[in-house]
Amino acid sequence: MSASHDDHGHAEPSSGPVVLSVSDRHPRVRTIQVVRPANADTTLLAATAKGLGITLKHFAKNLFLPLRKVAARSRAGAPDETDKAINLIETVQYPEEKVTYPERFRGLHRLMLRDDGNVRCVACMCCPTVCPAHCITIVPEESDNHGIEKRPAIFEIDELRCVVCGLCVEACPCDAIRMDTGEHAKPVEDRAVAIETKESMMARGIRSIAKQGGEGPSWRDHGDGPPKRDVNR
């Protein structure tokens, strides 16, 4: 045992519990007597009345005052109880009322489109490679467009297997797949329905303005930071 370790506990606290006995082998092991304040009111009548008052106040407020707006209810932290005239209920009644999700919330996938309405995906297989849940199936085919080699003939995502990690979006070099729809995977009665197809994901997609295939000079060449652009167009 190192000396520095022993040095720690030797300083006796100046005030504190009454020490009844100290162990010979380990001076820090002691029997102490804890002095707790005696409870004057053993029947706890006053405390009971106080507690009933608190719950009754909450009950009355929540029963008679109108519900606050969803935004106020879903806000983090407890409501200000010093404000006498507010309903304190925090429940958000989900299907009817929805909380605004943060901007980076990862929802259902969508496939982005080119200017001519075709899918942006070039079937590079980055996303099925990186996908930890192996939920992406891509069958590539040759593209009609001579500037683009491949496109997906089949692009399917099994939303039941998807772990919503967002790695596919990060892996995509073409801004072809995004998870910014803000929608949940819907509950289904048939597993087959939970598989998103190329068409269903393209239906949610919009045109992306990202330059594809390394056209034009890179912002790295100029050294003045990434270009300011509206990625949500």
Binding site: T43, T48, L52, T55, H58, F59, L63, I89, E90, T91
Partner: protein, 402 residues
């Protein structure tokens, strides 16, 4: 027509009316109201979604869903249970509570021939046999002199439900729950009975109907809130209420159930058999509220509503003991009856709601704290309450001579 009145005045008819109109709906609604109220006390919304098509009714229909669920759930009977006692226990828990309602006066006496008229209380007091007062329907099943004793006797039987359930389940946790239930009921019934004795000393009657109709002091109208026993027996009221909550075996006195340690005497029950224990618990809440409303809060009396109409500042006629004089506004008999029914229902609902408030506010007692409270606090206090009440009554008697 006489047959109809005779049928209406038959105790079984009144019992059916009471159970089907007041007790069962209120007890089933309480299963929903409890969850809703506890949620609102904890800043939540509670169950508000059960619906039949578009009919939602702020979630009241949850009790229908609950009942359907319990009826259609599998009624599982474990191996080695004593099948006869296992089946008997829920009935033993439920039946006594329903029987005990026999003594509750849940409405005034109805005179069917005078429904549209105003009753003349002097005629009623001097000539009760007059033809217009015939076929009276008394809204109390059994008006017996030992009414409150009867209630104690019958409700004690409900204890056997829990104990036998614990024994028959062939499960040590259930047995522990049954034993705890017995010991708790035994300890608290003493204090509960003694707490009511103070009311007996004040009114001189154990018949709930009499207490409601006369109040604490015969020199005041029974409809005067100051004549109700909460003012004359404040300590008795608090003691009885505490002991009565213990009697319903709900928090803070729910050690027979004790979910974190033992599940309680109904651990082996499922489906509608468990539902019967559950319902019995809620019917007990309604019953305790009815008893408290009857004994301490004037039962079906509406404040300042006498038998012939609203009266403020009147006095009791010394000969006929009829409330008279003061500011008066006559009300037809039928309307009075309706208002008094409503008043009883409202008092029961408010008292039940208060019991829910207590249940969801206080943490559970330990077994030793429970026994300490029962034997070392409630029992001596209720004895002191009787002594004090008797002493005051004696002094009052010596000073005034009546």
């Amino acid at each position: 027509m006489h047959i109809l009145y005779a049928i209406l005045d038959f105790p079984a008819t009144k019992w059916l009316f009471l159970v089907l109109v007041l007790v069962m709906p209120l007890a089933s609604l309480l299963t929903w109201a409890e969850r809703r109220q506890s949620a609102m006390m904890q800043d939540r919304l509670g169950p508000n979604r059960a619906n039949i098509g578009p009919i939602k009714l702020i979630g009241i229909l949850h009790f229908v869903a609950d009942a359907l669920k319990m009826i259609f759930k599998e009624d599982f009977i474990p191996a080695n249970v004593h099948r006869g006692l296992f089946a008997l226990a829920p009935v033993l828990a439920l039946a006594p509570v329903l029987i005990a309602f026999a003594i509750i006066p849940f409405g005034p006496t109805i005179f069917p021939h005078l429904i549209t008229q105003t009753i003349d209380p002097f005629t009623l007091a001097l000539q009760p046999g007059a033809p217009e007062f015939a076929d009276a329907i008394r809204m109390q099943m059994f008006s017996i002199d030992f009414g409150l004793i009867f209630y104690f006797a019958v409700l004690t039987l409900a204890n056997y439900g829990g104990t036998i359930a614990g024994w028959a389940s062939y499960n040590k946790w259930a047995l522990l729950g049954g034993l705890r239930s017995s010991s708790q009921m035994m300890s608290y019934e003493v204090a509960m009975g003694l707490a009511l004795m103070g009311a007996f000393v004040v009114t001189g009657s154990l018949e709930p109907g009499w207490i409601v109709a006369h109040g604490a002091n015969s020199n005041l109208s029974a409809s005067n809130p100051l004549n109700w026993l909460w003012l004359w027996q404040p300590l008795g009221f608090v003691l009885f209420f505490t002991a009565a909550i213990a009697e319903t075996k709900r928090a803070p006195f729910d050690i027979p159930e004790g979910e974190p340690e033992i599940i309680g005497y109904f651990v082996e029950y499922s489906g509608i058999r468990w539902g019967m224990f559950f319902l019995a618990e809620f019917i007990e809440i309604v019953f305790i509220s009815s008893v408290i409303a009857t004994v301490f809060f004037g039962g079906w009396q509406v404040p300042f509503l006498d038998i012939d109409g609203f009266r403020v500042g009147g006095y009791m006629d010394p000969v006929t003991h009829v409330s008279t004089g003061g500011w008066f506004r006559s009300v037809p008999h039928g309307l009075i009856v309706a208002m008094q029914f409503g008043a009883f229902g409202l008092k029961v609902i408010l008292l039940s709601s208060f019991q829910l408030l207590v249940r969801w506010t206080l943490p559970r007692f330990r077994a030793d704290q429970l026994m300490n409270l029962g034997w070392k606090l409630l029992l001596p206090l209720s004895l002191a309450n009787i002594m004090l009440t008797a002493l005051i009554k004696l002094i009052y008697f010596m000073v005034t001579g009546n």
